[in-house]
C-alpha cells in the first residue's frame, strides 16, 4: 500500500468512527430541546426527567465526539498538506469560523447545560440547551460547507502561486451543494437520534420499567422520526441526487451501476457491478425511474460509465454502488417503519403492539449504518478528486510523510478507539440500566 492509500485508510477510519458520535449528539440536541420545551409548556415533569436522562447520554456521547473530532481538524495539515496548501486559502475560512462561532458556543454552554441545572433555573437552562443545539448544528454547517467546496468548488479564484484563494465569500458560504447536503445530513442526524430514543423507550416498555417516561421517549421519537424520514427522501435526498446528476455525472453513473448510456434510464434495485466486463450482474431494474430522478423527465438521457474517460471515474465503483444502495434501501425501510409506528401511535395501539416495539428496539443501529454509507457514497463518489475537477487525491497528501508513519499512527488510533468504544458502550449501558431519574415534584412516577 502506498502512502496515499494509507492516508485514505486512516481518514476513512477516523471519520467513520468520529461521526458515529456527532450524528447522535446533533439529533439528540434537537430532541432534548423539544423535551425541555414540552416540560415547560405542559408543566409536566416527566418531560424534564426524560430530558435529564438524555442529557447524561448526550454528555458521554459529546465527550467522545469532541476527543475523536480533534484528530479530524489536525488531519488537514498532518496527512493532506498539499491539499491544505492548494485549497487552504478557501476552506480554512469555514474551519476557522467553526472554531470561532460553533465550538466556543457549544463548549461554553455544554458545561452550563450539564452541570448548571440548579444554578441556572428552568429558563436559563432551556437557553443553554438551545445554545448547545445551535452550536452543534452551526458546526455541522461549516463542516458541510467545507466538504461541499470539495464536491463542487465555487467562489474561488486561482492565485499567482497556483493555489486557490477566496474570491466571493458568500458564494462560497452559500454553495447550493452545501445547503442541500446540510439539510440532508442534519435530517439523517435527527433520524439517528429519533431511532435511539425510540429504541430505549421500547426497551423500557417491553421490560415493564419506567413506563411513564418511556412512553414519552417513544412518542417523541416516533413523531420526530416520521417527519425526518420523509424529509430525508423529499426534498433533501431528491435535490441532492439532482445535483449529483448535474455536477458529478460519473459518480451518479457509478452509484447506480450504470455502464451503458441510455434514455428512459432504468434504476437498479439489486445487482452486482462487474467492473471487468463492465455490466451489472443479476440486475432487477425499474425503467424510466433514473431518468426521472436525475433530470425530472422520464425520457432524459443518462450517461453511462462506458462513455466516460476512465481516469475520471471513481476508483472504487463496487463500494460506491453498494454504499448508495444500502443507504437508499435502509431509508425506504425507515419510512415504512415510522409510518406504521405513527399510525399505531395515533390509534393508541403502539404501546400494546409488542412486535412493533421489538422492531423499534432493534432498529437503532441501522440509521448509523445508513448515514455511514451515505457519507461513503459522497466521499467515494468524489474520487479521483480531492477538490472536484481541480486537485486529484494522489496529489493531495503530505509529500514527506512515509506510509510507515501513517500505518503506525493508524494502528495506534485503532487500538485507542477500540478501548474507548468498549468503555463507551459500558457507560451507556450503565446509564440505560439506571433509567431516567424519578420526577422530583408531586408527579411521582405511577409505575
Amino acid at each position: 500500500m502506498d502512502a496515499v492509500s494509507w492516508n485514505r485508510f486512516q481518514f476513512g477510519f477516523l471519520i467513520t468512527y468520529h461521526y458515529l458520535f456527532p450524528q447522535l449528539t446533533m439529533g439528540l440536541a434537537l430532541i432534548i430541546l423539544i423535551l425541555k420545551i414540552l416540560a415547560i409548556r405542559k408543566q409536566d415533569e416527566r418531560y424534564d426527567s426524560a430530558a435529564q436522562f438524555w442529557a447524561k447520554i448526550f454528555g458521554i456521547n459529546f465527550a467522545v465526539g469532541v476527543v475523536t473530532g480533534i484528530p479530524m481538524e489536525f488531519q488537514f495539515g498532518t496527512n493532506w498538506a498539499q491539499f491544505s496548501n492548494f485549497a487552504g486559502g478557501v476552506i480554512s475560512l469555514t474551519l476557522a469560523l467553526e472554531g470561532l462561532f460553533a465550538f466556543f458556543a457549544e463548549s461554553a454552554f455544554l458545561g452550563l447545560f450539564l452541570y448548571g441545572r440548579k444554578r441556572l433555573g428552568p429558563k436559563l437552562h432551556l437557553f443553554s440547551a438551545f445554545m448547545v443545539f445551535a452550536g452543534s448544528w452551526l458546526s455541522g454547517y461549516f463542516i458541510i460547507a467545507t466538504n461541499a467546496f470539495m464536491q463542487h468548488p465555487v467562489g474561488y479564484e486561482i492565485g499567482k502561486s497556483g493555489a486557490l484563494q477566496l474570491a466571493d465569500m458568500w458564494a462560497y458560504l452559500l454553495n447550493p451543494w452545501a445547503i442541500w447536503q446540510y439539510l440532508h445530513n442534519m435530517t439523517a442526524a435527527v433520524i439517528t437520534g429519533s431511532f435511539v430514543v425510540c429504541a430505549v423507550g421500547a426497551y423500557y416498555i417491553l421490560s415493564d420499567r419506567h413506563n411513564e417516561v418511556a412512553r414519552k421517549f417513544t412518542t417523541v421519537g416516533v413523531v420526530t422520526g416520521l417527519i425526518a424520514c420523509i424529509i430525508i427522501l423529499f426534498p433533501t435526498g431528491d435535490q441532492h441526487g439532482k445535483m449529483m446528476a448535474k455536477y458529478q455525472p460519473a459518480a451518479l453513473a457509478a452509484m447506480e451501476g450504470k455502464f451503458e448510456t441510455s434514455d428512459k434510464a432504468e434504476m437498479a434495485l439489486i445487482g452486482q457491478p462487474d467492473i471487468v466486463n463492465r455490466k451489472l450482474d443479476n440486475p432487477l431494474v425499474v425503467p424510466y425511474v433514473l431518468s426521472f430522478l436525475a433530470y425530472g423527465s422520464f425520457g432524459a438521457e443518462v450517461k453511462g460509465m462506458n462513455d466516460m474517460p476512465k481516469d475520471e471515474l471513481p476508483d472504487n465503483i463496487e463500494l460506491l454502488y453498494y454504499g448508495y444502495h444500502i443507504m437508499v434501501g435502509l431509508g425506504t425501510i425507515f419510512i415504512l417503519l415510522m409510518v406504521t409506528a405513527a399510525i399505531k401511535l395515533k390509534r393508541n395501539t403502539l404501546f400494546s403492539s409488542r412486535y412493533l416495539l421489538w422492531i423499534l428496539m432493534f432498529a437503532f443501529p441501522f440509521p448509523y449504518i445508513a448515514t455511514t454509507f451515505g457519507w461513503m457514497t459522497a466521499e467515494l463518489g468524489r474520487q479521483p478528486w480531492t477538490v472536484y475537477g481541480l486537485q486529484r487525491t494522489v496529489h493531495a497528501s503530505s509529500p514527506l510523510v512515509s506510509g510507515g508513519s501513517i500505518a503506525f499512527s493508524s494502528l495506534g488510533f485503532m487500538g485507542l478507539y477500540l478501548v474507548m468504544g468498549v468503555l463507551f458502550l459500558y457507560l451507556i449501558g450503565k446509564q440505560i440500566a439506571g433509567g431516567p431519574p424519578e420526577a422530583e415534584g408531586t408527579l411521582a412516577e405511577a409505575a
Partner: protein, 347 residues
Amino acid sequence: METTWFIIVSLMMATYVVLDGFDFGAGILHLFIAKTDIERRSVIAAIGPLWDGNEVWLLAGGGVLFFSFPRAYSAGFSGFYLPLTMVLWLLIMRGISIEFRSLEKSTLWRSFWDGVFFLSSALMAIVLGAALGNVIRGVPLEKSGFFSGPLFTDFATGEHPGVLDWYTVLVGLFAFAMLAMHGALYLRMKLVGEIRARAAAAAKKLFVAVVILGVLATGATQIVQPSIFEHLRGGPFGWFLVFAVVASLVAIPLTYKKAGEGAPFLASCALIATMLAATAAGVYPTLLSSTIDPAYSLNISNASAGGIGLNVGIYWWVAAMIITIGYFIYLFKTFGGKVDLEEGYGH
C-alpha cells in the same frame, strides 16, 4: 494585514496556554496534593465545566492559523506528523479521563483514570514547551516548503535536529514547571481546607523551579537562536515586553500573602502571556524558520493565502471574539467561587 493576523494567531495561542495551562497544571498536581477520593473529585470539579471550553482555544487557534497562514499550517503539521499524532492520543486520553472518571464508583476505575489524567497532563505540558522550542529553534524546512522532523536524532541542535533535542527538552521542562505552578495557584484559589494548603505549598516550590528553569531556558535560547533577542531589542515593544515579563514574575510572590487569592493566579496568567508575547515579537515576521537555509523559512508574507480572505476574515474574527468573551465571562461567573461538590462532577 498579515501582521494583524500574526498578532491574532499569537493572541489566541497565548490564551489557549493560559486557560488550558491551569487545567494541565491541575492534572499534574492532583496525584500529589489530592489524596482521598473527595479531594480528587474537588480538583476535577474545579476544572470540569471549563476544560473543554479552554481546549477549544487550541482548535480555534489552529483554525485561525490555517486560515491566515495555510502554508505554515500544512508545513508544520505534516512535518511534525508523529509528535502531533502522539499529542492527539494524549488529548484524547486526557479528555476521556476527566469525563469518564466520575461515571463509575469503583476505586480501581477512579485510580486508573487519575493515573491517565496525570500522565497525559504532564506529557502535554512538556510537549507544548517542546513545540515552542521547535518554533524558536527552527526546523529543517526544504525548498518545497515542507520538512520531515524525526522524533529525535542525536539531541544536538544543528541543520537536521530532531523534534526532541537538548534545547527543546529544556523548554519542555520549563513549561512543565510553569504550568504546574499555574495550576497550583489556580487550585489554591478554587479549593478550601487541607488540599488548598498543599496546593499553596506546591506553588511555592514550583516558583523556585520556574525561576531556575526560566533563567536556563533564556540562556539556552541566546545560544540556539540569538536572533530572537536582537529582534526584541530592535522592535518597538521589546523593552516593554521584557519589563512586563519580569514584573509579572515578581508580582507572584509579592501578591501572594497580602492581596486576594486571585491576584497571584492572575500574575501567573500575565507571566505566561507576556513570555509568549515576547517570544512572538522575537520571532516575527518569521513563522517557521529553516535550519537548512534561511531563504526557505516561512514568514507572514510567503505563507499567507492572498485573495480577499484575510480582509473579510477580520470582521468575522472581531464579531466572534466579542460573543466568545461574553460566553466565557458568563461561564466563569456561573462556576466562579470555591468548588461546591454538591452539584456537577460529584456522584
